[in-house]
């Protein structure tokens, strides 16, 4: 089921991605790369495993956590330009203890991305589906975390590591996100 449809010189370039992270920030790279490759007429397959698996759910509830992530800029997506460029360094002890800190950070990141013209994860996933990107859920992780295929978008398929590797072996570009 995961084999190449076209052989020989008419074969399209192929991108095989492994998406392992399900936070709002890390949900972006696989969907951006997959949609860009599909826009270039490449054949694309994304293998969602471990924490990447929830990105296949009908409704994506990805959040972001700045806690323990000192590289994440903490900027306000509103107000005058000078105010927006301030990087609010928050101590971990504060981020860990203020109730609702992560949902606030998630809201701010969504707003910042929207203001800057970045598509939402839902839009990017929709674009991927529209361009026939194959979204493959990892069977093993589904069993471990208790996911059913019915919870995923209709277009999602399910496979194991060996099947994905066979697909990846014929890919021109392989990436682990």
């Amino acid at each position: 089921m995961i084999t190449s449809e076209v052989k020989g010189k008419d074969r399209k370039k192929r991108l095989a991605l492994v998406a392992t992270k399900g936070t709002l920030d890390w949900a972006y790279p696989p969907f951006i790369l997959a949609s860009a490759a599909a826009a270039m007429d490449w054949e694309v397959g994304v293998f969602f495993t471990f924490y990447g698996l929830p990105l296949l759910k009908k409704e994506i509830k990805a959040e972001v956590s700045p806690l323990g992530n000192p590289a994440m800029p903490m900027k306000m997506p509103f107000g005058p330009e000078g105010f927006q460029s301030i990087n609010w360094n928050m101590p971990n002890v504060l981020m860990a203890n203020v109730p609702g800190f992560e949902s606030m950070a998630t809201g701010l990141m969504k707003k910042m991305f929207k203001n800057k013209g970045v598509a939402s994860i839902e839009e990017l996933r929709e674009a991927c589906i529209d361009m026939d990107v194959r979204l493959i859920g990892c069977q093993m992780t589904m069993d471990v975390f208790g996911f059913a295929k019915e919870e995923f978008v209709e277009e999602a398929e399910v496979a194991g590591a060996a099947a994905f590797l066979a697909y990846a072996a014929e890919a021109d570009v392989n990436m682990f996100v």
């Binding site: 949609s35 860009a36 826009a39």
Partner: protein
């Protein structure tokens, strides 16, 4: 250079990567072969992205220019 006849226009102003190439592919889908799409983008990375996109897809980039206001205009001819 002779004036190029534009058959369809696509405004991707305000959109960041990868939406300009995604929307360009989509716009070409229901166009006829040989027809020309004008795509406008304000994405600072649009120039190298569109060159790469044209090379990969085989569609012809007839023109690519940037004006002083950082607005990019691309003319793409659908070849297949």
């Amino acid at each position: 250079m002779a004036e190029i006849n534009v058959d369809k226009k696509l405004d991707c102003s305000g959109m960041l990567c990868p939406m300009p190439v995604v929307k360009t592919k989509k716009a070409l889908k229901d166009m006829e072969i040989g027809h020309v799409l004008e795509m406008i983008s304000t994405d600072a990375g649009a120039m190298p992205d569109m060159y790469a996109w044209a090379k990969q897809t085989g569609h012809e980039l007839l023109d690519a220019k940037e004006d002083e206001g950082k607005i990019f205009t691309f003319l793409v001819k659908k070849t297949h």
